[in-house]
């Protein structure tokens, strides 16, 4: 589906010719735009980039881009991506997910990816709803948001993914807004450049099941202070912010997951001596 391309710097070069299935007006179109801008900014050839995703409207994105893509099963994208990157450290590995895919079914891989700190970038397109399955609440859905599955609301406190990322060891934490693809693209590029596990939460409205999210564009604002490299300080800030701070919120300096060792044994027969007697 993806055309052959030569090293390119135009966002359009990172788009494929597959038509998205998204609803007209969906925030994910802007995230797609942000992605292509980010990759153009980085300037790496599309064939050296792998975009992994799970299942959901958001997770459809790899097919719409011209890099290598992996559209796996629901909730497992981070594990697939870790495998790609550990075995192929030469590739740039980016993961796209949704709030259901990433925080609900994929929650365990999320916290362990933060801890493992493999040099990948994790973009979650958060619309606080399950779009693909037609409107069930996700971990970030507001407690009083009415749905058929949870009439009157779940009554549950929404997840704060940024705090959890930080608590689990993520090395870079940022929030972006789909409604500003230029800034979102810059943040994604910055996250990809940052070593280790980088996490970018992208607020991406679902116009079909959350038309109320059109109001997000009025609510977003820059963070009151510069990004910190102190996790404890970042945690306190994030635990008290309003969820609409847009920008880099934590920039850590942990060394990424160690690279593969160089081969020192070239003939497998060397392993046989332990069996001889």
């Amino acid at each position: 589906m993806n055309a052959t391309i030569t090293p390119a710097c135009k966002p359009g070069d990172y788009k494929s010719d597959v038509k998205p299935i998204w609803c007209p007006g969906c925030g994910d179109y802007h995230v797609l735009l942000a992605f292509t801008r980010a990759l153009a900014e980085l300037g790496r050839p599309a064939q050296e980039i792998v975009l992994v995703s799970g299942i959901g409207c958001s997770s459809r994105i790899p097919a719409y881009m011209s890099c290598y893509g992996f559209h796996g099963i629901h909730g497992r994208s981070l594990a697939v991506a870790a495998g790609v990157k550990i075995a192929r450290p030469d590739l740039t590995v980016v993961v796209a997910s949704g709030d259901g895919d990433g925080y609900s079914i994929g929650g365990n891989h999320f916290i362990h990816a933060c801890r493992r700190n493999v040099d990948i970038t994790y973009i979650v397109m958060d619309n606080r709803i399950y779009g693909m399955t037609k409107g069930q609440p996700s971990p970030t859905t507001e407690p009083d948001f009415d749905t058929a599955l949870a009439p009157g609301g779940t009554g549950l406190r929404p997840f704060n993914p940024l705090v959890i990322a930080l608590a689990s060891g993520a090395n870079y934490v940022a929030r972006a807004f789909a409604g500003n693809p230029q800034q979102a693209g810059a943040l994604i590029a910055d996250a990809i450049r940052h070593p280790g596990f980088s996490f970018v939460e992208v607020l991406s409205p679902c116009v079909t099941y959350r038309p109320d999210q059109k109001a997000w564009k009025e609510r977003v604002h820059p963070p009151p202070v510069e990004a910190t490299d102190d996790p404890a300080r970042a945690a306190r800030r994030l635990m008290t912010d309003d969820g609409f701070n847009i920008g880099v919120l934590y920039r850590g300096n942990r060394a990424p997951y160690g690279p593969r060792a160089a081969a020192v044994v070239h003939d497998l027969a060397q392993f046989e001596s332990e069996f001889e007697f």
Binding site: M1, A63, Y68, A81, G83, A87, A263
Partner: protein, 575 residues
């Protein structure tokens, strides 16, 4: 019925701390160095430490692939919880039973009334000589009864403990001698067969280690896994080795992660493997289905243990056949390969890695606790030419069709980094280009492709072990193949000829090959270690069996013995 006369079987007993498992290993190594072949298995309870433990050893001039019907020697350092072994340890009527009378008494049910008994006062000796260890005394006793030359045994002890210093060595040797002297008045009812020289290059290796080496030989360079009994040794063997060959092993947070990690690594071009047991395989089936649909080669080793659910983690059973063959949702053809012996663990895993790459498919390797944790002497397996090679795409412009419909069903696969090969691997029903579709036509085309690539492939002779002749066949699989092989020898000695048919390739089924294997067969005995007769039902589903088909089956942990199969064959003749 009498047992095969050319082997001797020994059971060493003692509670975990007493070191019977080490004793068993030293004894095995000594007898192999002395020119015999041997097999060592262990039987332990659920305790991590201090529980009952048995080292079960069989010695023969020929290669040994299973235990025999009964033990010639039962040697107990103590009798702590020995009753828990129940019928797992059956003694010959003329067996010799040696134990420490101060450590309790032999469970009555275990010892036939005709057995001879002797004492080995380990506890007392160790009190006299605090630097001695009870298991060295037992080792000395067992080695003497097996007629292992003293020099051989002492060299083995030296190799293992020499680094601990001279004083320790002297104590070990003294203890060994004391053990030998304590049994000087005894002899086994059947003496060991003559040892043989010139075995060629041999190894002492477990099935789990053999799986690890087979994986490396097959080209595997990435593994991700989550610990589980009895598969962990595969991972623990592989971890340092993979690092040394420039690969890596990742301990994942769970089995969902481990299988997806290897899918990712393989998508990136690196042949990859995971190993687990039943509970972990259960967690992997969704992802194995993804590997089927997205055509990503992976190898998943399942070392079967007692089920269902957590079951009996330390004991063997053959009851994951169903989930391995049928456990994926939707129509998801994949390969299932079952090794039959310790050396076959190497061969089968290597073949699995080769086929996974050649056919771009997941392969489940069904080993079991018996094979995995048994240690045996084997001839060094030859280097064979199965090294995973994937059909790679080198796109030359134009739209790359990852899932192109080809004659073989195998489509050239682009590896990330390859310019022009960009595509999105997908578990959704897709077109040849990999674009999601709901069309009945595309769906059928890709289902056909994925079925055909597996069914049309020529698997050659390796699909099954076929031996012997006659109009009766024993149909079995996995670790019972060695048992059946021995049963056929026993039966032949009694004038009954039969065939052995043991498919190594369980999926896809090979109806034509099986028809040929069964040509002229009028009676079949199906032998398996499952409660639900899973193998028999599997055979019925895919193959035509003669009307006269019987099933000899039992769940774990009690394995089926050669004599039982032989009896079934003799009964066939009588009937």
């Amino acid at each position: 019925m009498a047992d095969d006369p050319v082997s001797v079987s020994v059971a060493l007993l003692g509670s975990g701390g007493a070191g019977v498992l080490t004793t068993g290993q030293l004894l095995l190594e000594a007898l192999c160095r002395a020119g015999w072949n041997g097999l060592l298995t262990r039987s332990v309870g659920p305790q991590i430490r201090g529980g009952e433990a048995a080292a079960l050893l069989r010695l023969s001039a020929q290669p040994v692939e299973c235990h025999s019907g009964g033990f010639d020697l039962l040697l107990a350092i103590d009798w702590h919880n020995a009753d828990r072994f129940g019928s797992e340890i059956a003694l010959h009527p003329d067996a010799l039973v040696i134990g420490d009378p101060s450590g309790g008494a032999a469970p009555a049910a275990m010892v036939p009334s005709s057995a001879r008994r002797g004492d080995l006062r380990c506890a007392e000796l160790c009190k006299l000589h605090p630097e001695w260890r009870a298991n060295m005394i037992a080792l000395g006793a067992a080695a003497r009864l097996l007629a292992i030359p003293d020099e051989v045994l002492e060299r083995v002890i030296d190799d293992r403990f020499g680094h601990k210093g001279e004083a320790a060595m002297a104590a070990n040797l003294a203890a060994r001698r004391a053990g030998a002297e304590a049994v000087a008045g005894f002899a086994l009812a059947r003496s060991p067969p003559p040892a043989q020289a010139n075995h060629g290059k041999r190894w002492l290796i477990t099935g789990n280690e053999a799986v690890g080496l087979g994986a490396l030989r097959g080209g595997v360079r990435f593994a991700a896994a989550y610990p589980i009994t009895p598969a962990s040794e595969i991972l623990e063997w592989l971890a340092p080795k993979l690092a040394q060959v420039g690969g890596s092993l990742v301990q994942a947070e769970d089995e969902l992660a481990s299988v997806n990690m290897i899918i990712g690594a393989s998508y990136g071009g690196t042949p990859s493997l995971t190993a687990t047991s039943g509970p972990g395989l259960s967690l992997m089936v969704e992802s194995i289905g993804l590997a089927t649909a997205a055509e990503v080669p992976i190898v998943v080793v399942d070392v079967m243990r007692g089920g269902p659910s957590t079951g009996i983690p330390t004991k063997s059973e053959q009851a994951d056949l169903n989930i391995a063959v049928y456990g994926l949702h939707g129509d998801a053809p994949h390969l299932v390969i079952a090794p039959q012996t310790i050396p076959d663990c190497l061969l089968s895993t290597q073949w699995a890695a080769f086929l996974a790459e050649a056919l771009q498919t997941p392969v489940i390797v069904l080993s079991d606790q018996f094979l995995g944790q048994a240690q045996g002497a084997i001839a060094r397996p030859a280097d064979i030419a199965f090294v995973g090679r994937r059909l790679r795409a080198e796109p030359a412009g134009g739209a790359y069709r990852r899932y192109a419909l080809t004659g073989t069903g195998v489509s050239p696969m682009a590896i990330p980094g390859t310019a022009g090969g960009q595509y999105t691997a997908d578990g959704l029903t897709h077109t040849e280009r990999g674009v999601p579709t709901s069309s009945a036509h595309d769906h059928a085309a890709q289902l056909d492709k994925r079925r055909d690539k597996l069914e049309q492939y020529d698997y050659g002779q390796l699909w099954a072990t076929l031996e012997g002749e006659g109009d009766t066949a024993v149909l079995t699989w996995g670790s019972l193949t060695g048992v059946a092989r021995e049963a056929l020898t026993l039966a032949a000695n009694r004038g009954v000829r039969a065939r052995l048919i043991a498919p190594r390739l369980l999926a896809p089924a090979r109806p034509a090959a099986m028809r040929a294997a069964l040509a002229g067969v009028r009676r079949v005995v199906v032998v398996e270690q499952s409660h639900g007769a899973q193998f028999h039902k599997y055979l019925r589903a895919h193959y035509d069996l003669p009307a006269d088909t019987r099933v000899l089956q039992r769940p774990g942990p009690l394995t089926i013995r050669p004599t039982e199969i032989c009896d079934a064959l003799l009964a066939e003749r009588a009937a």
